[in-house]
Symmetry: none
Subunit: 403 residues, 2 copies
């Protein structure tokens, strides 16, 4: 993997246009021995033609064997190795619901939990209360005030919420309150550095007030807090890649991650592939790079619905001419990770990549776009973080290294 500072030195501005089309959870598996994967089963005449003209490969999202969350997987696709540029869980949770974090905010991931009469945790997820109950309890917690800082709390899903502190002189160097097991009380927050003492005291005060407000709210009668962090200061895609980059994504998580790396997040008018592609075409002259995110491949994979995932891929293929007619110089079609319907979850399996660049790609002449064809493609099996340098190279935007 090349170092971002090296890429930043070599990347040059240009006039070429790049589209990175991410079908979330694209990678799949056969459901019967010898059968096709979702991508192989899908009728994709447009992608098949691009596969013959372009270069294929498989990317490993983070490291071999690691199944990533969507936030981390997208950071890697954008070239930011999440093991080198870590993003706290509190920040990811806030990003995931589209919370507009400011640079000095401290975000934590919260859980509603159940405690017994002695204050010992008996359920670390409060029986996974319905999200509506969560939202009502969050309303109660919004009444808590802390001196000198603004407190924001937002429900996420089931028992999860996000807590954000905004103000001067805060520090995220705090221990977590979740003891990681039942039978013991939540831990107090402790400062890991002297400058975090005040923040620790503020958070502990917030927790005590939350405990009082939730006393009668069985099963969600207490909270735990984890993953205190500040938004990372990632070098932006304009600094590193010299790209004016736009994100076209309907879901908050992907809009948030794109914002973290400095992409401009466009308003979308519809979630269909056609609608998303038309957004790119409408703003074609304003940007060099369009990240377009398709969600339902992942959702149908998580449902375990092979046929429905196939239909999503076919709908994307059918809409592709909208992009192709605009004539991108580089079009990459891939996923952020695999979500095989057979396994109903994110997995570590390498993800198909199709890199089409009519002037610069060495054509594989592959018979179509699918996991088997990608396995013997000219890009090989490579780390997701190598995708952006490959894209820039094919777009004529990376200078030669050395005389």
């Amino acid at each position: 993997m090349a170092d971002l500072s090296l890429i930043a030195e070599l990347a040059t501005e240009g006039t070429t246009k790049i589209v990175l089309l991410v079908m979330d959870g694209l990678g799949g598996m056969p459901v019967e021995p010898g059968g096709p994967t979702e991508l192989e089963a899908a009728r994709t005449p447009n992608m098949d033609r691009l596969a013959a003209e372009g270069t294929l490969g498989l990317h490993i999202p983070i490291r071999p064997g690691l199944a990533p969350g969507s936030g981390y997987a997208h950071l890697a696709l954008f070239g930011y190795d999440p093991l080198i540029y870590p993003v706290g869980r509190g920040v990811l949770e806030a990003v995931g619901i589209g919370f507009p974090l400011e640079p000095h905010d401290i975000a934590a991931r919260g859980n509603f939990v159940t405690v017994d009469a002695e204050g010992r945790i008996v359920d670390r997820r409060a029986g996974r209360i319905p999200t509506e109950v969560n939202a009502r309890l969050v309303e109660r917690l919004r009444t808590i005030r802390l001196e000198g800082v603004e407190v924001r709390i937002e429900p996420v899903k089931e028992h999860r919420f996000v807590l954000v502190l905004r103000g001067e002189g805060l520090s995220p160097a705090l221990t977590e309150t979740d003891p990681g097991k039942t039978g013991v009380p939540p831990l107090p927050v402790r400062a890991l550095q002297p400058e975090a003492e005040r923040t620790a005291a503020l958070v502990n005060r917030w927790i005590e007030q939350a405990r009082a407000l939730l006393a009668d709210a069985h099963p969600a009668n207490m909270v735990t807090l984890r993953g205190f962090d500040r938004p990372p200061r990632l070098p932006s895609v304009s600094e590193v890649y010299k790209l004016r980059a736009a994100a076209i994504a309907a879901y908050p998580m992907y809009r948030g991650v794109a914002r973290l790396v400095g992409m401009e997040v466009l308003e979308v008018h519809g979630e269909s592939p056609e609608a998303l592609f038309r957004e790119a075409v409408a703003r074609w002259d304003d940007f060099d790079f369009f990240f377009i995110h398709i969600k339902p491949t992942d959702s149908r994979g998580e449902d375990g619905d092979f046929a429905a995932k196939v239909r999503v891929i076919e709908a994307v293929d059918a809409a592709l001419p909208i992009l192709l007619e605009r004539g991108p110089d580089v079009l990459v079609i891939t996923g952020d990770h695999s979500t095989p319907a057979a396994l109903r979850t994110h997995t570590w399996h390498p993800v198909p990549v199709l890199l089409w660049a009519p002037r610069t790609a060495r054509p594989d002449g592959a018979p179509g776009f699918g996991e088997r064809a990608c396995r013997t493609g000219g890009l090989g099996i490579f780390m997701a973080t190598d995708l952006m340098p490959l894209i820039l190279a094919h777009a004529g935007r990376l200078s030669r290294l050395g005389a």
Copy 2:
């Protein structure tokens, strides 16, 4: 990528003979959809037989997406990752013209530039003056004397030259004088460390004398200097690989890089493949390892002349029996990078590798030597710096790691 100190521990002396045949810029691309690359189009009966008996693969010269200069690409082929063992631009420039650098020399890359009456740069390349004009101006600059150091200056091409300071107590920790833009004067040289103060003063004095000598020499009426460096202290191929290595190359850059890694650079009598191969055969008993460099594959690629590049490859193939009759234990045929005629420049595309070792290679049974066959070869797609360990292994010159 394997660590050189590990390889140095495991490498053993032996009696096996190795040939590394580098066709510069070998990797190519089709010029028409579905067509062959240069290597695939070439009639290469000898290489095709070796491909069937040997193992194929593709190497990535430096990192995915990076198009390397020839110096860096050769260092990587020899196992020295240029991002780990960097070589300054001044040194590469000197090496490229065959200047015999001594260990404590300081080399810089110089440009003739055009400045206006106020000394502001108006052209950073002095209109790319002809090399002959450059040579005459260099003659003038040779009259400059500095106290206590020897000054050498050599013309390169067009507006470029090499400046070398030789003497005691010099340091390359200097800033560059090229401001990287026009409209401002060249910068003075500053020391980056206290021990470089004297060198900075000497270089600034040289620049002031150069300015005076060039005052009437429009458009090349001033100079800039960049990339001050000393020859790197690379561990030699005899230390690391336990090889007595010879370089058979007609062009200065490749002779220079081979010298940097401690190969013995042989005199050549002709540039044809036959002539170069006969040199190896003539010195067969004196060395374990022969690096043989073929230049015109790259030159014809840069010309954009697909057919001429094909003919160069065919001429190499036709001469191969000269080497094969001598019976090397390992013969590797590859390039340092790709130079597809279709793109007329060095590119990042992975480079075909044929590793033939009649006793130790696991045969691929490939139908011939070309990019497509290499894509699915037994060596996979691998980093160039892994080639030397693979070569040593196939030559029976690398001990087992661990009990």
